[in-house]
Symmetry: C2
Subunit: 138 residues, 2 copies
DNA sequence: TTATGCAAAGATAATCATTCTTATTTAGGA
DNA sequence: TCCTAAATAAGAATGATTATCTTTGCATAA
């Protein structure tokens, strides 16, 4: 998977740097749509000299190249998702947890609905559900 | 409608102040889910002495008392919606425009879907669609 | 081998939205 | 009218993010 990631960088004409690898690995390991801050804290142990600006710049580069997605939240800090295929999110209203949610049947249902119920003066590109609620422990 | 708003404030035990009235009127007039900045700019003409901190505090008070909703965006500034009943949003990917979208049939469709397709370990409280796309001019 | 070019990273200052602090003012009931 | 809690003003502080400017690393050409 590491090699996989390196290949993706190269496909996009991006250099494979230790910082980029470390940041991507951090996101995979952190695993709950981390903030830039989470990532910085995580990397600090192995890469104490990594610069905050670099993290933000690398994250932007990844988003531009579709290696990451930004996740909308109510709060002020952006979160990142290594899962770039189309999917929805479950937001917990008590904790900061955000889970991915995939549901092909639901997608079809919605897409069929809009085939027969066009929104006037609007061309749909993408539909995402924000499902707010509460996780049963664990 | 002005009297209406004053009554709402009083019902909640909130004082009716010129600032609160001005801020609420601004949001109604601005009419595209304004940011705090939009509101401040708008009010400046009639209330040159209104304080930035006041605007933020009043907005928070309104949100707490369900006179406004916050709207999630990809950007860093929060936007506000005087339409507090449950509804979805249309986001333009080219401009900052956000429109409300109501669709009772769609809500039923989705709600029925989740009756038969429970999400494991998650209790749904609310579902909102972020429909991204492009408005045809106008 | 050495020079050149350029993307990437480091350091840190700057920005921008938002929040906080403290003093002052005001709305609305007694 | 007076009183008091609630609300506002002013502006400093915070925190996330962006910008700037310099340096580094590495590939390619001379």
């Amino acid at each position: 998977m590491n090699t996989d990631f390196r290949e993706k960088l190269q496909e996009k004409g991006l250099k494979v740097t230790p910082q980029r690898v470390a940041i991507f690995e951090a996101i995979l390991k952190l695993n709950n749509h981390p903030t830039a801050e989470d990532i910085i804290a995580f990397i600090k142990t192995n890469h104490p000299n990594i610069s905050v600006g670099t993290v933000y710049k690398v994250l932007d580069t990844f988003v531009e190249n579709n290696l990451l997605k930004k996740v909308k939240t109510e709060k002020d800090s952006m979160r990142y998702d290594p899962h770039v295929a189309n999917h929805h999110h479950l937001y917990c209203y008590e904790t900061e947890r955000i889970d991915d949610y995939e549901d092909e049947k639901l997608n079809e249902l919605i897409s069929n609905h809009f085939k027969t119920h066009k929104i006037k003066n609007f061309k749909i590109q993408d539909i995402k559900l924000q499902i707010t609620g509460k996780f049963n422990n664990q």
